[in-house]
Symmetry: C2
Subunit: 401 residues, 2 copies
Amino acid sequence: SSKSSKNLPVSSVTSIIDGLKRLYNQKLKPLEVTYRFNDFGSPLLTNSEFDAKPMVLLLGQYSTGKTTFINHLLKTSYPGSHIGPEPTTDRFVVVMSGTDERSIPGNTIAVQADMPFSGLTTFGTSFLSKFECSQMKHPLLEHITFVDSPGVLSGDKQRTERAYDFTGVISWFAAKCDLILLLFDPHKLDVSDEFKRVISSLRGNDDKVRVVLNKADQVDTQQLMRVYGALMWSLGKVLNTPEVMRVYIGSFHGKPINDAVGGPIGKELFEKEQDDLLSDLKDIPKKACDRRINEFVKRARAAKIHAYIISHLKKEMPSMIGKTKAQQKLIANLDREFGKVQREFHLSPGDFPNVEHYRESLSHYNIDKFEKLKPKLIQAVDDMLGYDIPNLLKNFRNPYE
Amino acid sequence: SSKSSKNLPVSSVTSIIDGLKRLYNQKLKPLEVTYRFNDFGSPLLTNSEFDAKPMVLLLGQYSTGKTTFINHLLKTSYPGSHIGPEPTTDRFVVVMSGTDERSIPGNTIAVQADMPFSGLTTFGTSFLSKFECSQMKHPLLEHITFVDSPGVLSGDKQRTERAYDFTGVISWFAAKCDLILLLFDPHKLDVSDEFKRVISSLRGNDDKVRVVLNKADQVDTQQLMRVYGALMWSLGKVLNTPEVMRVYIGSFHGKPINDAVGGPIGKELFEKEQDDLLSDLKDIPKKACDRRINEFVKRARAAKIHAYIISHLKKEMPSMIGKTKAQQKLIANLDREFGKVQREFHLSPGDFPNVEHYRESLSHYNIDKFEKLKPKLIQAVDDMLGYDIPNLLKNFRNPYE
Ligand SMILES: Nc1ncnc2c1ncn2[C@@H]1O[C@H](COP(=O)(O)OP(=O)(O)OP(=O)(O)O)[C@@H](O)[C@H]1O
Ligand SMILES: Nc1ncnc2c1ncn2[C@@H]1O[C@H](COP(=O)(O)OP(=O)(O)OP(=O)(O)O)[C@@H](O)[C@H]1O
Ligand SMILES: [Mg+2]
Ligand SMILES: [Mg+2]
């Protein structure tokens, strides 16, 4: 039938992710390109973004043990890693699988089409010179990519020493990552204003955040309880979600746990917590697939709404004279036009983009040059949402399992 | 000199508290009575309020171990105490020193001039029938009075079963108390909406609040950490102070700590925490004296401002006709009149009472019947603040030390 000819034949697909990649290119991308969805929000997706492994981002004030944590999981030092009591890691480092052991500078990674980091070019060369990719052959890196980050400094230092938009970069990684580990050190507990801003920049990705109270064997039990309590007290305020964040209490490095301070129960607790964290890390790939499907579907819905809005604005333009004035009026009353689109296509107001941002993006365009509504493009996306994606889910197991 | 004749001779005073009591009756009360300060805010102080021992209020959801806690500190059961797994204590019980062991019903206590509880009559007889005083001879009760309370129930039960203003009563006790212990049980951690309201009603007395995570030996260490973290997370939001509340983690009953579950470190931790809590309780009397001086001085300042406002309003009234209209105008523009008083006497706007409440209280009066400014009454309070109180502090040690 004509219907099935439009559908993605499952036999040609190798996995859910492969299926999404093909669906994107065949069915969603044409709609996005036609109505310039990329200029109004998210850049077009690249194949490398579909192929990217699940990512774990490490964040924390300096010297909380982020680099040590990654090396501990890898049971070896990643190429170019530095560990020390003073601020050591001075850049964002993506630690990923590769055939050779090597470091690639940020400017090079950003232009590589087979890497999902081209979006970072918007943060400028002063950022790219503080960005690096560290590759090595490692069984764990077959499944997970880690992102090590420079420690958050206290206010003034932070501002003077970073020549780029630090929280912006963190937001970018937070959106792409599958898990965000916030590391704390019981000796440096106070959550600096800078770190609060960093945590706030994770908004919208709260469900990915886990907290690690590291080096817990460095203080006695009573101190540990104070420190832990104070941490929860202030995190509860900063994160502002009713669900309590999971905190792993332990000491995540290669050495045996120091039971001179915490005692045997400390050791037992920390070992249990370490096991829990490891099994959470093992779950990431499984969850990453669900997350990607979910985000893909959300993106498709947003792209459809965008197409409805753009084609509606085009339709409202006069055919002959008074175009400039009409465009000004449409932009000025954009919220009213949004309302019309909502009613015409029975859409929920909560799914609509932010009016202010949209108005700003629109102002760079000549509305008259936009495309009319093309029902076939919409139909392709509806088919994808209603048939192809459910079909993929029925025919393939989670590729990461 | 005429000046010294007005001052309180230190030789006639037996303690700081005795001095405050006499100063109140000789110097502050006359000002309060003249300008009806009691009708606009705080009732007149009674001698029994000065004589009252420092009070510790226990609050918590039902069965968290409040009654057990008091009996544990007393090393005996207070008269009329009930302990059990179901909601047991069904009333507010003031546990205080007395020559005989006995319980006195609320209606009787409320009318006793030598007891500081007459203010509770405003909560009506349905409250008074759920109020009791338990007296016994006990060395600890020589220094501290305990207030046991009925456990907070979950929403609906709370509303249907209490025929009086529960949070109002708790606010009343919170203001009079020197320490407020909030008890939690790791098995019943979830802070119900009702309990949130109770905690909110402690506002303004946040510095008196301490948290007890009781029965901590009933769960294993990993569970305890979860429970404790969740508690701090939600308390941080409810209490909304940047300072972390002190939490005592332990098991506060007469029996030995259950180290089958928590293990030896649990036992050690809980014993340290118990010691810390006991020494905090020992500090209460010392701190109570500072608190009372502080509150007394605050009250004196508020009474002076009240006198300035009242006498100013009186002065603004016409001497012959148009009194009703003038009164209406003054009340309508009360904020402007407050401004005039501020400027005339160089007072800080932050020290002024709430305009709305004041307007409401004023509406019951005939402003014309108020007293003019009596400088001698003001002078007496100024002398008290500037000379008598500092002199008391110089000549007496803290009576509770
Ligand atoms: N679990 C641990 N227990 C005790 N010491 C630790 C632990 N983890 C790391 N350290 C020590 O803490 C210091 C900082 O470690 P590391 O360099 O890994 O931190 P970092 O968070 O990567 O710091 P930066 O932000 O400066 O890169 C080092 O001296 C390291 O040996
Ligand atoms: N530290 C403790 N460890 C274990 N069990 C305890 C502890 N303290 C109290 N209990 C038990 O918990 C139950 C409730 O105790 P209790 O009656 O003292 O609580 P309460 O807070 O006064 O309750 P209510 O609000 O109903 O008056 C009783 O069965 C008591 O034996
Ligand atoms: Mg580092
Ligand atoms: Mg009780």
